[in-house]
Point group: C2
Chain length 343, copies 2
Amino acid sequence: MDAALVTDLVNVRYLSGFTGSNAALLVTVDGRVVFATDGRYVDQAATQCPDVERLVSRQLTEVLVATLEDHKPLRFAVETHSLSVDEHGIVAAQVTSRDGWELSSLEQAVERLREVKDADEIEALRTACDMSTQALAGLLAGELLGRTERALARDLEWRMYELGAEAIAFETIVASGPNSAIPHHEPTDRQVAVGDLLKIDFGARHAGYHADCTRTVLVGSGADWQRDIYAAVAAAQRAGVDACVVDTPVADVDAASRDSLASAGYLEWFTTGLGHGVGLQIHEEPLISKRHPGRLRAHTPLTIEPGIYLPGRGGVRIEDTVVVTATGPEVLTHATRDLLVLD
Amino acid sequence: MDAALVTDLVNVRYLSGFTGSNAALLVTVDGRVVFATDGRYVDQAATQCPDVERLVSRQLTEVLVATLEDHKPLRFAVETHSLSVDEHGIVAAQVTSRDGWELSSLEQAVERLREVKDADEIEALRTACDMSTQALAGLLAGELLGRTERALARDLEWRMYELGAEAIAFETIVASGPNSAIPHHEPTDRQVAVGDLLKIDFGARHAGYHADCTRTVLVGSGADWQRDIYAAVAAAQRAGVDACVVDTPVADVDAASRDSLASAGYLEWFTTGLGHGVGLQIHEEPLISKRHPGRLRAHTPLTIEPGIYLPGRGGVRIEDTVVVTATGPEVLTHATRDLLVLD
């Protein structure tokens, strides 16, 4: 293609540094980059993308396409996976009205670039993960028994903010007792009781980058079945992390954890995905699954998060944010994966 | 149209009650409603939409269209304003492969339904607004001087959570001194000082509904120019709220506040929109502007939020969430609009 119109806001941020809620970017093959936003963001854009040609308009895509007015015929690509049908119609009318111009799809080209992170991105992720696990350590050092899921979630979030998080990365999951069997439980007013599995899935956001971590602890004391499923999840999680080596097929990472759960006899109770890329979005490519056709690339951060969920009884998930590096997996979420029994 | 495919998640939630992150809904003119989600949400969907025919699949739109297999030719509508080009392509291939079927746009039909709220929705909004203004009262009763914007924002959010908010409605704005001149300022480590205008734009979310409120106070003592712009904004805000009467052209609400600011000589410093609908999203239709062609309908919640922003010096915004009712505007955000001078 000769020119690409980037309209997905996360992709715009990735390419330009702009963090506002309305913008688009035009990139041409001969190196021209034009950024457009509306009147609210003039100052912010000047600060965040000082080196880029900037336009201000209510009609972002229209002014961007118009900047190519004198351009020779070209192949013009748009992000068809996120651009709405209506917006696409506006761009298409403008593009196809020009002699010899052609409209095509950029597909997920920018998302593919985003999968592999540079040093600054990994540093941001590292900071987000440090804030997260420090906050968890603080929470777990305090009382758990008798507090509600909701209170624990708010406490943990407060700690992340106090440690400098710019936001929480996603809605915190605190799931106790039978609720721990629900993979994506919303915290309730249930009070943590002796014998509960307590599952905490949480993360801080720093400089736009999202940490993602889950730990499950036992409260007061535990039963054998709880220790058994914990051990099975811990082994499967370790196997998944260990598989995060450059050039490994993504499907093999999935298989590593699933084979481990299968040999322990628990595979049928693992009902979610194993993990996903993480960065400017909490869920990014690559999604780890047996259907993924690709291989792991260096400097790709991933989550590895197997679990066992026994409906009505309880569940365990252990999740780390891990970076694939040339020398093997680097875990960014530093918190013990040993079973903690706490009060 | 004969059948509509609803893919916008907020619209799906509005029509079905489902709050998860992946679902679609098919509605036919003869009253059939079919809901689809993926395996993660089977239990949640059963709880949240017990009375609806439910399907589970990875390919939501595909299985939904397939349920109409035996249907006579029909006009099939999709949400072209939010559906991506790629997803639309999949649906279009399926629909147009059937003899006599036609594809059309649902346009923003569901969004138009959402503008007018029922009693339960307004009650949820009322609760969200109460949590918000109670939290503000608590914050303003404490110390302001010397605390950072960021600390005040976190404190206010914490108070909303403590009062039962399920989430904050949007990223809290706390803007002090010269920063108050930035309409959408992100809280920094700047410490609040004597003579600051302190602008706080915030809200709680309850049962999916978003409160939206802004207050600006003076810290320690104020100068005449600060009192002048406060009085001008308060008058313009009052004029806008008073214009929220059933059947008033939306453009007249805009004019009411703008005329007030113009007569005070400050219109050029009001650089944002006057307000917007609010509900399951923080920004909904109707957007209040001179270009809006419609009239206010009863039970429509709106924000009215004029401001004056003097770059480098400071700014004032006063914002309420207001419901248009048959008997006049009802303000849901109960907090004084008088100028407070606090320490």
